[in-house]
C-alpha cells in the first residue's frame, strides 16, 4: 500500500535526557525516523529537551522544539503546529507515556491528531498489566502465575497453589521496596506479614518465581497488511533476575533448538497481532524454564527499545527507519533494504557471526551503592562486539567496555592473581562462589577465577544459572590461556616462542596482543611484530543482513581472524574518526554527536569518512552516518589494524572524548597523522608543568597547585597552598576520584583513592577557590583565527563538576570586566597553543580575578548545547578546520552572543542507587542533560528544571535547611517565596536566621527529637520543595535522610544556594505568566543563509 496521503504533518516525540534505562538509542531511532519521514515529504515537527542529540539538529526536522517533555508543553506545540499525526513509538518510554497521557486527557482528539506506529489501544494493551494478562490468556500465552492477596490466609492460599519459590511484591511501595523471595512455607508466612505491613494499601502480589530461567527476546515487525518478520532472537547470558538492560546478551540465541525457536516465532507472531501493532516494531521478552522448556511471557514493548537498537546493529536491519515507513502506511515489501540495495525489508535477517553485548556500569561513582545487579537497571551504557565465534566476540566485548581491560582476564589487571588462585584459600573460594551466585558487574571475571581455581563448569552453572554452553566457552579460553602460558618467556626481552598454530588459535578466539604479551611475559609491540611477520592479520567481514547470500551495497565491518579479507578500502582521500565507546558518566552522547558531525562535514568536503566505534546505541554506528563503519573496540591494536588497512590521510581524535584522546600519543608514535591541534600542544595542555609555564608566560592566574605521588608529598603541597584543596588524578574524565579536602585527615583518604586511579601519573592538588563562579568557554580555531563559541556561567558555585553544573549562556552575573579578562585569556592561550579545532577552557572567577582551571584541547561536553544556543554547528566547522580550511572562508569569525537565554541542566541517576547522597561535588555523577531556552533567565531556567523532571510547585510548603555560610543569602530566597504565597518550614538554625529577618516560618524538630518531623511531612506529600545545602564536609545524618527521601518521594530539591535563587526566580515566572514554546528555527531565523 502506498504511503498515507491524508497525513501531512507528523509530530515526533523524543525521549529527553539520557538516564539509566533510556540512553542515546532513542536519538539513533529518532533521527532515523526523522530522515525516513522527510524522505517521504512529510512536514516533521520534533520535540525533545535533550540538546546533545542529532535529532534536534535544525536540519533533521522541519520544526524543532527544545522544550520540556510535559503534557502541557506538547499540547502547546500541538495547538501551534496542528500536526495530523503523532509518532510516539521512537521516543522510548517517555515518548510513549506522553502520547498516552495526551490521549487520556483528550488532547489528541481535540486537535484531531492520530497516533501512528502504535494505536492507543495497542499501547494500553501492552502497558496495562491486567489488560495484558487477559490478552495473553486469550491467545494461550502463559504469564507468570500470580495473585493479589489482602490477608495472610489469602496470600498463603495463592502462594501454595503456585508453588515455591515465590516473589512477593507489596503494592504501591516505591522502587520495589519490601519485595522478597520465599523458598518455603515458613518464609512465605513471614514475608506476607511483613509485606502486608509495608504496603500502604495492605496488598501484596504473590508471583511465581522465574529466577534463573533463560531470558529470550525477539524483535518483531508487522505492517498494516499483517506481514510479520522476526529481526533476530537474543539470548541473555545472565538469566532472569538481572534486568535485561544490565545483562550480557548474545544474538542470535545460542542454545535454542529449531523447534524451540519456531515456537518462539509463532508465539511472537500471535502476540504482536493480539497487541495490535499495525505498522511498527515490538520487543517481546520471554522466560524459558531450562529444565523443561516451559515458556512464559514477561513483557512486550510496542515501540522501539534499547533491544531494538541492539538488534538493528547486530543484524544491519534499520528497524527505526522501517518502522517509520510502516507507520505511514507502507508494507514491508515496499520498503527497500538499504544494506543489500537489492532486496526488500520483507525478509528475516540472518547472520554468520556471533554478536555480544556487555554493559558498562559506574559503581565507582557511587561508592555507597551496593555493587549488585537485580531487576532495577543500573548500567549507563553498553558495548557491542562481533566475532566469528562466541569467544572472540566475548573478548572483544570486554575490551570495548573502556574499563581498561583487554579481554577475559590475563591482561595484568586481574584482581585475583594466579598465585592466589593456585593457593585457593577457603576464604578466596568462598568469595568467588559468592561473586558468582549474586549477580554483579564483575561476575564474568570471577567465573574465570573459579575456572582457574578448579571449580567445575557444573558448579559454576548451578551457582549462577548461566547456561553451561557459555561457561564452557569461557573455560575454553582459560584452557587456551594455559596453553599459551607454557611458552612463557623467562625474560621479557626474549624472542617469543609461541608456535604459530597456537598464536593463530589464540587470535581466532579473541585474545588481544596485550593479553598474549602479558601471558608470555613479553611486550605488546613484540607480539604485534611477530604476528605481522607471520602474516597473522585481522581481516574484515561484513554485517550484511544475509550471511553473504547477496552482495551488499552498504554493509559495515568487523574484524576477525579468517582466511580472506572482504574490506573494500577506497582509493579516495579518507579520514578516520575515532568514536567514544560505550556511554558512561563523563562520556556520553555529546561526543557521539560531535563524531557524527565530523562524518557529515567530511561528506560535504568529498572525503571518505571512516567511523570506528563499538557503541550500538549511537547514531555514529548507524550504517549511513559514515562512508565506512568498523564496529570495533577502541584499543590501539584494533585501531592500528584498521589504519594499516585503510591508510587514511589522518585520524580525528578530538571529538570522541577522552577515549580517543588517550590513544593520541601512542598513535602518533606509530606514525599516524593526528588531525588538528598538534600533539605538542596537547601535551602542553595536559602536562601540569608545561601548562603552568605557559600561563606564567602569558601572565595568567591559576589557583596555587602542586603534584604528589603519596600522602607525605601531598601534605607538603597542601600546607604550602593552604586548605581547602582539590585533589584529582591525572588523565581522567568526569572528575573520577576528584575530591575537596578541608583538612589533613580528609586529604589522606582522598590521596589514596586518587593515587590508585592515577596509576603511574602524579595526583594533582589545587587550591580550592570557595564560592568562586566557574565559567566554561568553548572555542574554535584554525591556527590563526580563534572564535569563542560560547561563554557559559555555572549556576552552582565552584566545586561542582562542570558536567553536573547547570550553566547559562550568555553569562548572567559576570561583570563586563571579568568577561573581558576571560576573552583575553582565552584568545591568548588559543594563540599560544596554535589551536586547530575545538578547545574547552574552564575558569574560576573570584573577587574579580580570573583563574584558569583547566584547558582541554578537544571537543567538550557542551559543544552540542552551545551549537544549539548560538545556531552554529561548531563540530562541523571544526572538522573542516581540521582538514585545512580557515574560519574566514567558513564564515565564522565573530563570537555570537544570543539575545535569548539557554540553560543547560543535568539529570542524575540517584533513584537507581538507594542510599547514595544527592550532593554534587567535583566527581561527575550526571548521566544526561537538558536545555531550557527562552527570552530571559527565569523562563529558561524554569524550563530547564521542568525538562529535568523537577515538578516545581506553584503553591504549598517549602522546607529550608542551609549551612551557616548560606544563611544570609537564603533570607532573600525565603522572603520571595513567602511573597509568592508559599509556607516555609525550616530546621532550627535556619528558622532562627529567617525569624530574625521577620519571615514567618514553622520550625521542625530534628528527626530524632520529635514528630511530625520533616520525613513525616515528606511522606504525607506536605512538602513541595526542599532547599538543603550541605552543612559541611561530613554531612549530618538528618541531612542525608532528608535528601534520600527527596529521591524516594520525587520531591523537587536544590542543594546549593545559587540554584535555590535561580529556582525561586523561575517559580516567580511560572506563577506570573504562562510559558510559551518557540522552535529552534525561529530563534535562529536571522542567521540562516
Amino acid at each position: 500500500m502506498p504511503r498515507r496521503k491524508d497525513i501531512k504533518k507528523v509530530l515526533m516525540i523524543g525521549s529527553g535526557p539520557i538516564v539509566i534505562g533510556q540512553a542515546c538509542e532513542f536519538d539513533y531511532s529518532g533521527s532515523q525516523a526523522c530522515k525516513a519521514l522527510r524522505e517521504e515529504g512529510y512536514f516533521t515537527i520534533l520535540i525533545n529537551s535533550n540538546p546533545a542529540t542529532i535529532m534536534t539538529d535544525p536540519g533533521m526536522a522541519d520544526v524543532t522544539y527544545i522544550e520540556p517533555l510535559t503534557v502541557e508543553m506538547v499540547t502547546k506545540i500541538i495547538a501551534k503546529e496542528r500536526p495530523d499525526a503523532i509518532l510516539a513509538t521512537l521516543g522510548g518510554q517517555t515518548g510513549l507515556n506522553l502520547a498516552f497521557f495526551l490521549m487520556k486527557r483528550g488532547i489528541l482528539k481535540k486537535y484531531g491528531v492520530e497516533s501512528i506506529g502504535a494505536s492507543v489501544s495497542a499501547i494500553s494493551c501492552a502497558e496495562d498489566r491486567e489488560l495484558f494478562k487477559k490478552a495473553m490468556q486469550e491467545i494461550r500465552v502463559d504469564v507468570p502465575k500470580s495473585g493479589i492477596a489482602t490477608s495472610l490466609e489469602e496470600g498463603m492460599k495463592i502462594g501454595l497453589s503456585i508453588g515455591f519459590p515465590l516473589i512477593l511484591r507489596p503494592a504501591y511501595t516505591l522502587g520495589g521496596s519490601g519485595g522478597s523471595i520465599a523458598y518455603n512455607r515458613e518464609e512465605l508466612e513471614k514475608f506476607l506479614v511483613k509485606g502486608l505491613e509495608t504496603s500502604p494499601v495492605h496488598q501484596i502480589l504473590v508471583e511465581q518465581s522465574i529466577l534463573g530461567w533463560k531470558e529470550i527476546e525477539f524483535e518483531v515487525m508487522r505492517d498494516a497488511s499483517d506481514n510479520v518478520i522476526m529481526i533476530t532472537s537474543m539470548e541473555n547470558v545472565d538469566p532472569m533476575g538481572v534486568h535485561t538492560g544490565d545483562s550480557i546478551v548474545v544474538a542470535p540465541a545460542q542454545t535454542l533448538t529449531a523447534e524451540e525457536y519456531n515456537n518462539f516465532v509463532n508465539l511472537s507472531k500471535r502476540i504482536i497481532r493480539r497487541i495490535g501493532v499495525t505498522g511498527g516494531g515490538a520487543n517481546i521478552q520471554f522466560a524459558q524454564n531450562p529444565k523443561n522448556g516451559n515458556i512464559v511471557i514477561i513483557e512486550v514493548n510496542p515501540r522501539l527499545s534499547r533491544s531494538s537498537a541492539l538488534a538493528s546493529k547486530a543484524t544491519g536491519f534499520p528497524i527505526a527507519r522501517v518502522a517509520t515507513k510502516l507507520a505511514v502506511g507502507y508494507t514491508l515489501p515496499e520498503v527497500m533494504n538499504q544494506i543489500t540495495g537489492k532486496t526488500t525489508s520483507f525478509f528475516e535477517p540472518t547472520v554468520d557471526y556471533c554478536v555480544f553485548k556487555i554493559c558498562r556500569f559506574t559503581f565507582e561513582k557511587f561508592p555507597c551503592a551496593q555493587r549488585v545487579l537485580n531487576t532495577s537497571m543500573k548500567a549507563v551504557g553498553e558495548a557491542m562486539s562481533i566475532g566469528r565465534n562466541f569467544k572472540e566476540a566475548f573478548q572483544k566485548g570486554i575490551r570495548s567496555m573502556e574499563i581498561s581491560r583487554f579481554g577475559f582476564g590475563c591482561d595484568g589487571k586481574d584482581k585475583v592473581t594466579d598465585e592466589e588462585l593456585k593457593k585457593s584459600s577457603n576464604g578466596l573460594i568462598k568469595l568467588i562462589r559468592d561473586k558468582i551466585r549474586v549477580p554483579n558487574d564483575e561476575r564474568i571475571f570471577y567465573i574465570r577465577y573459579a575456572l582457574k581455581a578448579g571449580l567445575s563448569v557444573e558448579e559454576i552453572c548451578s551457582l549462577s544459572n548461566i547456561d553451561r554452553w557459555f561457561v564452557d566457552n569461557m573455560k575454553e579460553l582459560v584452557e587456551i590461556e594455559g596453553e599459551v602460558f607454557k611458552c612463557r618467556n623467562n625474560k621479557s626481552d626474549e624472542e617469543i616462542k609461541l608456535p604459530l598454530g597456537l598464536l593463530r588459535k589464540a587470535k581466532e578466539n579473541g585474545f588481544s596482543d596485550r593479553q598474549l604479551a602479558f601471558i608470555l611475559n613479553s611486550k605488546e609491540g613484540k607480539v604485534r611484530d611477530l604476528r605481522k611477520k607471520q602474516n597473522i592479520k585481522a581481516v574484515y567481514k561484513l554485517v550484511d543482513t544475509c550471511a553473504g547470500e547477496v552482495a551488499a551495497k552498504q554493509p559495515y565491518y568487523y574484524s576477525t581472524y579468517e582466511t580472506a579479507d572482504e574490506a573494500r578500502p577506497s582509493k579516495n582521500k579518507k579520514v578516520i574518526i575515532l568514536g567514544g565507546g560505550p556511554n558512561r558518566i563523563g562520556q556520553g552522547i555529546e561526543f557521539d554527536y560531535c563524531c557524527c558531525h565530523a562524518a557529515y562535514a567530511l561528506k560535504e568536503e568529498g572525503i571518505d569518512s571512516i567511523m570506528v566505534n563499538c557503541n550500538p546505541e549511537t547514531v555514529s554506528t548507524d550504517y549511513d552516518t559514515s562512508d565506512r563503519l568498523y564496529f570495533e573496540p577502541l584499543t590501539f591494536e584494533d585501531i592500528m589494524n584498521i589504519i594499516e588497512l585503510e591508510k587514511p590521510f589522518g585520524v580525528i581524535v578530538q571529538f570522541g572524548g577522552q577515549t580517543p584522546l588517550n590513544l593520541a600519543v601512542s598513535l602518533l608514535k606509530a606514525g599516524v597523522n593526528i588531525l588538528g591541534t598538534s600533539a605538542e600542544s596537547i601535551d602542553i595542555a595536559e602536562d601540569r608543568k608545561r601548562f603552568k609555564h605557559m600561563l606564567h608566560k602569558l601572565g595568567l592566574l591559576q589557583p596555587d597547585n602542586g603534584t604528589a605521588f603519596n600522602f607525605e608529598e601531598a601534605k607538603e603541597v597542601a600546607k604550602k597552598i593552604g586548605y581547602p584543596v582539590l585533589v584529582r588524578p591525572s588523565y581522567v574524565l568526569g572528575g573520577r576520584a576528584m575530591e575537596i579536602a578541608y583538612d589533613e585527615e580528609a586529604l589522606e583518604k582522598f590521596i589514596k583513592d586518587a593515587a590508585e586511579v592515577s596509576g603511574e601519573h602524579p595526583v594533582l592538588i589545587d587550591k580550592f577557590l570557595e564560592d568562586a563562579i566557574e565559567v566554561d568557554v568553548d572555542l574554535i580555531g584554525d591556527g590563526e583565527t580563534f572564535v569563542i563559541g560560547g561563554i557559559l556561567e555555572h549556576i552552582e558555585y565552584a566545586g561542582v563538576h562542570s558536567g553536573d553544573a547547570a550553566m547559562s549562556l550568555p553569562t548572567y552575573t559576570l561583570s563586563e570586566d571579568s568577561l573581558h579578562k576571560i576573552r583575553k585569556a582565552t584568545y591568548e592561550m588559543a594563540n599560544e597553543l596554535s589551536l586547530v579545532g575545538l578547545m574547552n577552557i574552564q575558569y574560576a572567577v573570584k573577587d574579580d580575578k580570573v583563574y584558569v582551571l583547566e584547558v582541554n584541547p578537544r571537543a567538550s561536553r557542551t559543544i552540542p548545547f552551545v551549537s544549539k544556543a548560538i545556531g552554529v554547528p561548531l563540530a562541523e566547522i571544526a572538522t573542516k578546520v581540521l582538514l585545512g580550511k580557515n574560519l574566514k572562508d567558513l564564515g565564522f569569525t565573530k563570537e555570537i552572543i544570543p539575545k535569548h537565554v539557554s540553560i543547560k541542566e543535568s539529570v542524575f541517576p540517584f533513584n537507581r542507587f538507594p542510599g547514595v547522597d544527592v550532593i554534587l561535588g567535583p566527581e561527575m555523577k550526571s548521566t544526561g542533560e537538558v536545555m531550557g531556552i527562552d527570552k530571559d533567565f527565569g523562563r529558561a531556567y524554569i524550563k530547564s528544571q521542568l525538562a529535568a523532571g523537577q515538578k516545581l510547585p506553584r503553591k504549598g510548603n517549602i522546607f529550608i535547611s542551609v549551612r551557616d555560610r548560606d544563611k544570609r543569602q537564603v533570607i532573600f530566597v525565603a522572603k520571595k517565596l513567602v511573597d509568592l504565597g508559599f509556607n516555609i518550614y525550616a530546621s532550627t538554625g535556619t528558622a532562627q536566621a529567617l525569624d530574625k529577618s521577620g519571615i514567618k516560618v514553622k520550625v521542625l524538630p530534628k528527626i530524632a527529637e520529635g514528630r511530625p518531623n520533616i520525613l513525616d511531612l515528606m511522606k504525607d506529600g506536605k512538602v513541595q520543595l526542599v532547599i538543603n545545602t550541605p552543612s559541611g564536609r561530613i554531612p549530618r545524618q538528618d541531612e542525608i535522610k532528608i535528601r534520600s527521601h527527596v529521591i524516594l518521594y520525587n520531591i523537587p530539591y536544590t542543594t546549593s544556594i545559587s540554584a535555590a535563587q535561580a529556582t525561586v526566580s523561575g517559580i516567580e515566572v511560572l506563577l506570573k505568566n504562562d510559558l510559551e514554546v518557540k522552535s529552534l528555527q525561529a530563534y535562529h531565523k536571522k542567521r540562516k543563509k
Partner: protein
C-alpha cells in the same frame, strides 16, 4: 586431522575432521539457517550434497531423535566453521559429534565458511570434493571430473520408501503421498489434519495410485534429480485432472515437467528460512523455508491454460507457487514447514479445500 575441500573451479579450503577418513564428492551448496542443523542434515532433499552451513556455531544444543527429518543422514559431506564441544539443551540426547559419527558423516570444520559462501555466491554452486588423505589439486580435480561424467543414478530408490506404508487415521479422508524424500515434519502436519495417509514408493504407477482411491495426491519434496523426476512425471501423467495433486518442492518440479513447463536452474539456489514470497494480487506475503535450486520458467508456465502463478519470491521474482483449479493442481517450490508447535502450513488447508468435502 587436516582435510581439504576442493571445488570444481580449483579453489580450495582447509579444515579439520575427526575420526572418519576418506573422500566424498558432491554438489556444494550453502544454507543460511541459524538453527536446525540436525533437520538440515537429515533432510533427504540434501542427499548427495556437500552442505555448507553459513552460521558458524554448530552443535550448541546437541541432537535428539525427535528432530530427525528422516532416519538417515543423506549428505555427501558437511562443512562448518566451529563445532561446539559441548551441548546444552534439556531435549538433547547426544552431542552433534556423536550423532555425526554414528551416521558416518564426513564433516569438515574450522573452515572459513564465510569466504566459501561468498565464493559460491559469486561463482554459483558447483561440485566439490572433501578429502582427508589427498591434498593434490590435480588429482582431486580429476576425481571431480570423473564423478561429473559418471554420475551415479538411483538416488530416489535409495531414499524413497520400499513398500507402501499406512500412516495417520485409518478410515479418514485418504491421501496418497508419493515419497520422493518426504520429511517427518511434513508427515506430522498431515497427521494433525486427521487424514489417512498412504505413503507410496517413488515409482508407483498411476494405476496403482488410482487403485487405492485417494481423495488427493501429494508429491513430496526431495532431491532435485531432474532425470529421475522426469521418470516420475511420466508415471503420474495420467492422473492430471483426475486427482487433485499437491506438489511440494521437487514434487512441484514433477508437476512442471508433466505440464511441459521449462525448468531454470538458479546460480546458487534458495536455501534458508528467510525467503519472502508474495501473491501478485495482495500486499500480504509470507516468510518461507526454501531449499531448491530449480525454479519454474514463468514464460512457459503462463502459456498453459488455467495455470496461475500464485506466489513470487520477492527477492528475485522467481515462481514459488502455482495453482490451477481446472487441473486441480497446487504446487509450491518452497517447503511448507509448520509455523509453530502443532500448527499446519496454510497450503495444506488450501489443498484440503481443493479436495472438497467428501
Amino acid at each position: 586431522m587436516k582435510a581439504i575441500l576442493m571445488l570444481e573451479d580449483g579453489k580450495s579450503f582447509l579444515g579439520e575432521t575427526e575420526g572418519l577418513k576418506g573422500e566424498r564428492i558432491g554438489e556444494v551448496i550453502m544454507n543460511t539457517v541459524v538453527v536446525g542443523y540436525q533437520e538440515m542434515i537429515t533432510d533427504p532433499a540434501n542427499a548427495d550434497k556437500i552442505l555448507v552451513l553459513t552460521y558458524p556455531l554448530i552443535g550448541n544444543y546437541g541432537c535428539s531423535p525427535k528432530f530427525n527429518e528422516s532416519d538417515n543422514i543423506w549428505l555427501a559431506g558437511l562443512v562448518i566453521k566451529e563445532k561446539s564441544r559441548i551441548f546444552s539443551n534439556w531435549q538433547a540426547k547426544e552431542s552433534f559429534d556423536d550423532f555425526v559419527k554414528r551416521h558416518n558423516l564426513l564433516s569438515l570444520y574450522a573452515v572459513d565458511t564465510r569466504t566459501l559462501a561468498v565464493h559460491l555466491r559469486q561463482k554459483g554452486s558447483m561440485l566439490g570434493i572433501i578429502s582427508t588423505n589427498c591434498f593434490e589439486a590435480k588429482e582431486l580435480l580429476a576425481k571431480i571430473k570423473d564423478f561429473s561424467k559418471n554420475k551415479p543414478l538411483g538416488l530416489l530408490a535409495k531414499i524413497s520408501t520400499e513398500k507402501k506404508k499406512q500412516l495417520g487415521l485409518p478410515g479418514k479422508k485418504k491421501i496418497a503421498i508419493l515419497d520422493l524424500g518426504i520429511t517427518n515434519s511434513i508427515i506430522r502436519q498431515l497427521e494433525s489434519l486427521g487424514l489417512s495417509l498412504t505413503i507410496l514408493p517413488f515409482n508407483t504407477t498411476a494405476e496403482d495410485i488410482l487403485r487405492i482411491k485417494p481423495k488427493g495426491l501429494i508429491i513430496s519434496g526431495g532431491p532435485e534429480e531432474i532425470t529421475e523426476l522426469e521418470k516420475v512425471a511420466e508415471n503420474i501423467r495420467p492422473l492430471i485432472g483426475k486427482v487433485p495433486i499437491l506438489g511440494i518442492s521437487s514434487g512441484n518440479l514433477v508437476l512442471a515437467i508433466v505440464l511441459g513447463v521449462k525448468l531454470n536452474k538458479l546460480k546458487t539456489g534458495h536455501r534458508g528460512v528467510n525467503y519472502p514470497v508474495q501473491s501478485p494480487c495482495s500486499f500480504k506475503g509470507e516468510i518461507t523455508v526454501q531449499n531448491h535450486a530449480y525454479v519454474l520458467d514463468p514464460g512457459s508456465l503462463l502459456k498453459i491454460k488455467g495455470l496461475k502463478i500464485t506466489s513470487y519470491n520477492l527477492n528475485d521474482r522467481t515462481v514459488e507457487e502455482i495453482e490451477s483449479r481446472k487441473l486441480k493442481i497446487l504446487g509450491v517450490q518452497y517447503a511448507p514447514s509448520s509455523p509453530g508447535f502443532n500448527e499446519v502450513h496454510n497450503v495444506f488447508n488450501r489443498f484440503m479445500k481443493m479436495l472438497g468435502r467428501n
